[in-house]
């Protein structure tokens, strides 16, 4: 059976831009996907992890005797053994608190690993956990961001006074002049909650230690970047080539959460070494919800310096992030990842910014879909609405007045971001038009007069994609950075080879988690070679011993559609060059005079002088002496693409933290039921510009997923703790995620402003409305509740929270 549509396209029509159905779906939908839990190794045993029930506790004796006596138990690994067998993980702050794969002397969050049991099956391992006696001595816990910095707060790490992991101040532009020139200052204080994107497939690791070769073989659904591989090798104290790391083709969602998985890889590697058997551990849902990773919670204070006409001259802000009981790479990226696009879609040339990253007794953080851009835009877009209200300017108008104009691209932001292309006003106007904005504002007035709580919410944001790993350097000052080796890059590698009959096989390590990379690769290669996608097979497995990879390999920050596809094009072009050189040799023609169709290569001016592609390919394989004299045998091309815009930070702390920058405009309307506080979407238009759309079907899939995660963050999700650090959301009973019933129909608009940096003009779009919807929904709710004098400065906007606001407003004397 073929997954491709019949070749009904016209001559010259491209596969890129068409809704080619996903070739992955038949496999996945019929249960033939191969996920981490589907893999076995000979003699494989199973691990379970004992976790701290306390948010903060000294760990005394751990008595494992009874557990070891249980039949079927192969061994136990405790935190003290972990400390003896490994080093703390490296992280980009100094001084760095010691973070091992397991709690050692002290547990710092509920769910932190304390010991590992390895047994013949998971049931026995779980039973054995109950036989381990741990002498915990509970300590006071702290969960609140501001309380953590107070003088009398419980101290988590002696290396980090006041529980501060990272702190920096930045000034860009000319703040003094901007402040003088401003007519008004508008202030805001915003609290963004802690939540994660709960991929359907939880984590999993298979680890096998070979004592004779002193090598580890790891299987895991780790997401990338392969920085994690370097960190684990370093923690285990081995050379990186002794750590073979294999990531299966099928991963059930990642959303950045699976970048936080590598400590478990080290933990299982040590369990395998300690117990002398290969070990498998699959995280259960409870473990995931309490102890895997979420995005950070953030407290932001912001000031906007504005002119009476609505021009925003400067921003001053202070943001405090909370990475939990430890700080784990890529954190403190939460505070620096979005620095290049910190001023969003607007021409704001002056910025003063203080960032703090603190520790509390909560579970650790990782880049959650959007990697704090949702935090940034929640405060920035709420501020845009506050400025609009303050100056009595329409919120759509205030955005239009501050947008970067279409003729300013490529645009360098005050913070060093290099926006490659865009036309923000055009995309926003399309969205407003489709929404029928002016009429809807009129209708809103009428509905309000009837007492209905109707709100219109806007958000216009820049969607950064393809991380430049340089951004993490901002956690250190220029002087500190100068003492270290510079870091930068965003590279991706692809190999394309042609078999003797002219069919193509692509060797990739782009590490998809459901995005449909293989489908896209087949489209791109088909266009480049003028063949059919069905003639292209793809093997997509990240294997550090058998694939070309780099530190930046993996699938995160929407890098595939920009960096990945460009590497595919480069590799295919190199293959094609070689193919044409052989054809020129066989036809006795200049390479420049050749052209091809799906079957043959011919001389452009004399089409009868032709040779079938399979004969050219056959020559390369079957008659190697028939090749041009100076040519290597083998018919393949390798593309290793690094964005030319990925450079280290400057001495002024400017950094292009991403490489391609798209745009999103949300225009939506909600109604709030004053009796229940429940929110209903009445209308939603979402315009996206991610450059060339490679496959509209996949593109829309990403956008729909982004909407769902955005709604989750705006209304439902929060990893909540009580004041003692006990987690309150340990199951899906209490950690609410939206279901399809809560997702409204969203009217999508695509605008295509090609990127000059990528072969196809495409940009990333994997974060999408996950970063803009929380801001837009908050703006809509704020607009709906404005007649009651209610401000919206925090999320999630649960019915319970809104109901309390309404009741408080109604009972306050001013009403």
């Amino acid at each position: 059976m073929t997954t491709m549509p019949p070749a009904s396209k016209q001559a010259g029509e491209k596969w890129v831009g068409r809704s080619v159905p996903r070739r992955e779906d038949l496999r996945l939908l019929t249960g033939r996907g191969r996920f981490i839990d589907d893999f076995e190794l000979p003699q494989l045993k199973h691990a379970a992890i004992l976790r701290s029930p306390y948010a903060h506790a000294e760990i005394g004796e751990i008595d494992v005797h009874a557990a070891l006596e249980l039949p079927g138990v192969r061994g136990v690994l405790t935190g003290r053994e972990v400390a003896a067998m490994s080093r703390p993980f490296a992280v980009g702050v100094s001084p760095a608190p010691k973070y091992y794969a397991s709690a050692v002397e002290r547990a710092r969050f509920v769910g932190e690993p304390v010991a590992v049991v390895v047994a013949d099956d998971r049931y026995i391992a779980e039973d054995a956990l109950e036989l381990i006696e741990v002498d915990y001595r509970p300590l006071p816990a702290v969960v609140d961001i501001e309380a953590a910095m107070a003088a009398d707060a419980p101290q988590l790490h002696e290396e980090c006074p006041n529980n501060i992991y990272s702190q920096r101040e930045f000034v860009y532009g000319d703040m003094e002049s901007a402040k003088k020139e401003a007519d008004r200052v508008v202030t805001g204080r915003f609290l963004f909650p802690k939540y994660g994107s709960t991929p359907i497939e939880t984590y999993g690791v298979i680890a096998s230690y070979d004592p004779f070769a002193d090598q580890y073989e790891i299987w895991s659904n780790y997401q990338g970047p392969m920085v994690g591989h370097a960190l684990v090798a370093q923690a285990l104290g081995i050379a990186e080539n002794r750590l073979r790391w294999i990531i299966p083709t099928d991963i059930g969602g990642g959303f950045g959460i699976k970048t936080g998985l590598y400590p478990y890889i080290a933990l299982m590697a040590m369990a395998s070494k300690r117990c002398g058997v290969p070990v498998k551990w699959i995280e259960d849902r409870q473990e995931h919800l309490i102890a895997s990773a979420t995005g950070t919670d953030r407290l932001t204070e912001m000031e906007a310096y504005v002119k009476s006409d609505g021009t925003i001259l400067a921003l001053k802000d202070r943001a405090i992030d909370n990475t939990g009981g430890y700080i784990r790479a890529p954190e403190p990226g939460c505070a620096y990842r979005s620095i290049g696009n910190h001023t969003g879609a607007y021409q704001i040339r002056n910025l003063e910014r203080e960032v703090l990253v603190v520790g509390t007794n909560k579970c650790l953080t990782a880049p959650n879909r959007g990697y704090t851009c949702q935090h940034l835009y929640f405060s920035l877009e709420r501020m845009m609405d506050k400025v609009a209200a303050e100056l009595d300017i329409d919120p759509a108008e205030i955005r239009l007045r501050n947008f970067i104009a279409a003729d300013q691209f490529p645009y360098k932001t005050a913070t060093g971001g290099l926006y490659d292309s865009g036309d923000y006003a055009a995309a926003f106007r399309l969205a407003l038009q489709r929404f029928d904005y002016d009429n809807m504002r009129q209708w809103q007035k009428e509905a309000r007069a009837e007492g209905r709580l109707i709100g219109i919410g806007l958000a216009t944001v820049v969607e950064p994609s393809v991380t430049n790993i340089a951004y993490v350097g901002l956690a250190k000052s220029y002087l500190e950075r100068r003492k270290e080796h510079p870091k930068s890059g965003s590279g991706e590698a692809i190999m394309v080879k042609m078999d003797p009959l002219g069919k193509v096989h692509v060797i990739a390590a782009t590490n998809p988690q459901g995005q449909g990379h293989d489908t896209v690769i087949s489209q791109v290669v088909a266009d480049q070679l003028g063949i059919l996608p069905d003639d292209v097979t793809v093997s997509n497995v990240l294997d550090t011993h058998q694939r070309l990879t780099s530190i930046t390999s993996g699938s995160y920050s929407s890098r595939f559609s920009s960096a990945g596809t460009t590497a595919v094009v480069l590799a295919t072009q190199r293959l094609k060059e070689k193919l044409f050189r052989i054809a020129g040799h066989l036809l006795d023609a200049h390479v420049e005079s050749l052209q091809n169709d799906s079957h043959k290569i011919f001389v452009r001016e004399q089409p009868q002088r032709s040779i079938e592609i399979r004969h050219v390919a056959g020559t390369a394989h079957w008659n190697q002496s028939g090749l041009p004299e100076d040519m290597d045998v083998g018919l393949y091309g390798v593309g290793f693409y690094n964005m030319p815009t990925s450079e280290p930070p400057t001495e002024f702390d400017q950094v292009n933290s991403s490489n391609t920058y798209g745009f999103i405009a949300e225009v939506l309307m909600v109604e709030i039921d004053p009796e229940t506080g429940a929110l209903q979407f009445l209308k939603w238009v979402s315009a996206h510009d991610a450059g060339t759309v490679i496959n509209p079907l996949l593109f829309e899939g990403q956008l729909q997923g982004g909407v769902a995660h955005g709604i989750g963050g705006a209304i439902f999700e929060e990893t909540a703790y009580d004041e003692n650090g006990q987690i309150l959301t340990g199951s899906f009973m209490d950690y609410l995620v939206p279901t399809s019933m809560e997702i409204p129909e969203v009217d999508m608009i695509h605008q295509e402003t090609p990127s000059p940096l990528t072969a196809l003009g495409s940009k990333g779009t994997g974060e999408a409305s996950a970063m803009s919807a929380p801001a837009a929904i908050a703006n809509a709710v704020a607009d709906a509740l404005r007649p009651l004098g209610i401000e919206v400065n925090e999320l999630p906007l649960s019915p319970n929270r809104i109901w309390h606001w309404i009741k408080d407003a109604q009972s306050s004397p001013s009403q």
Binding site: P53, V110, E130, Y136, Q286, I290, N724, Q726, M733
Partner: protein, 165 residues
């Protein structure tokens, strides 16, 4: 979580005070109490069994009575753990004699429950804790009154350990 309330006794204050200091009575009134042994002056080791939602299990708990001021007040400290997690708390008990005989007991405590029971049973913890507290005091009322009626017999209270949600 906070546990607060008021219980009225027909028995007089001294009888209630005695009941509150009698380990046998407390053992019978404590919901899910499987055993209770003295472990020093005003210190008791108890094994309690109760369930929060789907998480049922045994807890080994130390009960400690401090700040005694007979027959008016004492402070009860609870500290224990079991497979489903841990409990930790402290509460004050105040007894007041009523004019027409009888007594009123006011309790005011703070209880922490952690571990699996807290994570999974979050929605139920508050309700169940309050329910268990009420059960304890209603049994204590019965115990104090039966002591008043017939001080020779030990109180007739059904053993409660299976009686849980």
């Amino acid at each position: 979580m906070k546990l607060q309330g008021e219980v009225a006794f027909e028995a007089n204050r001294e009888t209630v005070w005695d009941a509150l200091n009698n380990p046998e009575v407390i053992a019978k009134c404590l919901p899910g109490c499987e055993s209770m042994e003295p472990a020093g002056e005003d210190v008791f080791e108890a094994v309690l069994k109760f369930g929060v939602g789907p998480i049922t299990g045994q807890y080994r708990v130390t009960l400690k009575i401090t700040d005694k001021n007979p027959p008016q007040t004492y402070v009860l400290q609870v500290d224990g753990s079991g497979k489903p997690g841990f409990v930790k708390g402290q509460g004050s008990i105040k007894l007041q004699a009523q004019d027409g005989g009888g007594a009123v007991l006011r309790y005011d405590g703070d209880l922490q429950i952690g571990g699996l029971a807290a994570r999974i049973g979050q929605r139920m913890i508050g309700t169940i804790s309050k329910q268990l507290t009420k059960q304890f005091f209603s049994r204590l009322v019965e115990a104090a009154e039966s002591t008043t009626e017939d001080s020779q017999d030990s109180p007739q209270i059904p053993h409660p350990s299976s009686n849980f949600p």
